[in-house]
Structures are given as C-alpha cells and as structure tokens.
Symmetry: C2
Subunit: 174 residues, 2 copies
Amino acid sequence: MKLSKGVRYALRMMVDIAKESDGTNRVALSQVARHTCMPRRYLEQLAIPLRRASLLAGTTGRRGGYVLARPAQDISVGEIIESVVGRLSITNCVLDPASCTLADGCECRGLYQRVNTEIAKLFDRITLADLLREDWVQSAGTGRRRRRTPAASLRAGRGFPAERHAPSGKGSLC
Amino acid sequence: MKLSKGVRYALRMMVDIAKESDGTNRVALSQVARHTCMPRRYLEQLAIPLRRASLLAGTTGRRGGYVLARPAQDISVGEIIESVVGRLSITNCVLDPASCTLADGCECRGLYQRVNTEIAKLFDRITLADLLREDWVQSAGTGRRRRRTPAASLRAGRGFPAERHAPSGKGSLC
DNA sequence: TTCAACTCCGACCGATTTGATAGGAATTGA
DNA sequence: TCAATTCCTATCAAATCGGTCGGAGTTGAA
C-alpha cells in the first residue's frame, strides 16, 4: 500500500509549479528539477500524463515550460494521482471484477470496493491549494486538522535557501 | 497503492479458517490451500506472522492446524494487514520521517500522514466477522456498516462446495 | 537565420520487490 | 513407527518500478 515514487514526484512537481508559476509564469522542468532534486528526465515523463489530464499546460520552445491548467484550488490530489497511475485500485478486482477467478462469492471483494472508494474520496477532497497552505504542512497524525502551534511557527523561521531540497546523505525523497 | 498478494492471501486464509474452524476445529493449511487455490507453502509463510500477532493459534503434529486465536468479531482487517506487511504506511516518511531528505518543510507530508491515518482507521473498523456476513459480500460501497438482514442469517447456514474457489482459466485471485 | 532551451515521445535497462518454491527440523496423534 | 502437520531459513523467478537515453519538433532570442 505504498504511493509510488512516480506519484510522489508528480505531487511535488505540481506543488513546485504552483508556487513558482504564480498563475501565469511558465516553469521549466529544469527549474523544478533544480528546486526539488528530482531527475529532470523523469519529470518529463510524469508531466506528459499531467498535461493530458488537463492539469498542466505545456509550452514548447525556448522559455517554454508548464503552468497549472487550472487554479490550484480546482485541482485535487486524486486527479493528480489518477493521471499518472490510473484510477485508484487497491486490488485488480475493484476496477475489473473479471480479473479475479472467483466470480461473485468472494468475501473480500466488498471490503476492497468499500475501502477503495473511501480512499479515493479522501484524495479527491484534498486540493493542491490545500497542500500549499502553511497550516497543512506541519500537523502530524490524528488525521484531524490542527491549529498551527507557536512552536511550529517559530521553527518555520529557518526558511529555504536553495538547500532546502538538497540531499542530506541518507534516505530519499518522500 | 495496491494491496499485495500476500495481504490478500492472508485475508482469504483468515476468512477460510474462520469459516471452517467454527471456533474450535483445527484447520490445516493443506485444507485451506485446497479450498482457496492458494499455494500451501506460501500460506505457511503467511501464517507465521499471523500467529505471532496472536490472530491465529497453531498446533503442530498430526491433526494439527490453525484456529482463530480470538473470535472473528475481535479481529480487525487492519490487524491482519499489519501482521503480514507491518504497520500501514503509504509513504516511508509516515512512519520514519528521518527517511526523507527533506526535513520539515515538506508540503506533502501532512497529506501523507492524514490520509495514512484515515486509511488505517478504515481497515481497523472492519472485522473478520464483517467479511463473513452475507450482506457484506455483494454490496458496493458507501463504506457504511449495514445491519444484518434476516435473509443473510438464513443463508449463513450453507457450507462450502469445494469447487467454489477453483480457478476458471484466466486471471488470478483478487 | 541560427542557436539554445524547451517540450514531447518511445525504447530500454537495472535494481528492487514480491510471489513462490524447497529442504528440512520439530511435533504429535493414530 | 509413521504420516501429517507446523515452523524456520534460504533461495529462485518474475514482475514492477525508477530512471536513463537518443532524438524529433517547437520557439524565442541573439
């Protein structure tokens, strides 16, 4: 049940383009790659389905680049995910019941279908604009929105001068 | 975002043991394998973490086998999943923030954490007993529990005619 | 008018993960 | 004593996935 790296990259790329473009400026993938330490060549691959899904608008040629095709608050995380890896399905039988050798009497399929639609709803309800909001970034765990704590505001102070997305030895981008 | 085959097998195995054992009878994995067309050798591997998580109780030796370690209504789908693939995490940074090269200022982590806990809740709220209920099987998804229908109680009597889980040519088990 | 910076496309490759098999020790009822 | 079982580790095979590459087409600027 992992989100693939492709999806994570796509999400991060969309966030970066949203921030950099400010509605109109074209953002080149080479810039995104620089900002985020993601391989440009790979981003190119990911941008294509995003464009085809009308989430990004690309301009070729010199000083070309991408812009959000719609305002960030009209782009859901669910759409982003779907465009790069297809419709969410935690199991093949969710989208294609015929793919399972058990016809109808499967005890688990109901579970899969329900959970699948619930997860899809979760992703659909969250927009790109939500991700950009400050109070969204820090909050941990309960799944419930939290107010921004004073401590969080303080720590947010050390901004991000270029090294922000730089690798720090171990680990990779989440 | 797929559930691994291991998880699906484990779920199906738990369902089968729950049905066959009726609380006390030991169910051998060779039987489960026969019923469900899953490879016995692989089931053995899956049963071990389930036992370690105190979801199954195993007895070695002749006429040995497995029984649910607790009543089906006290075993959640979430526990089953967790025992075989570890704690649910749609991203490494959910469980291990240090695994990500970006320290705090990651726009996506909040998303991952929230969605992760919501998904975990979904799985935790559903019990093995739920899966066995007839009305659970077919119905598609609002995600909301439904009362047991009289019809369901009646039909619950019938057993298990062996071919039920037999392969039908194409596809695999979902 | 040339050139450099882009998007856009398809093919391919290497590594990791995952599904599955295998051998065999220990246990226990018949 | 034997056969059926759990239990444990090691290993293999296949599928998926992350990432690279070469290159064609486009376009603004020098």
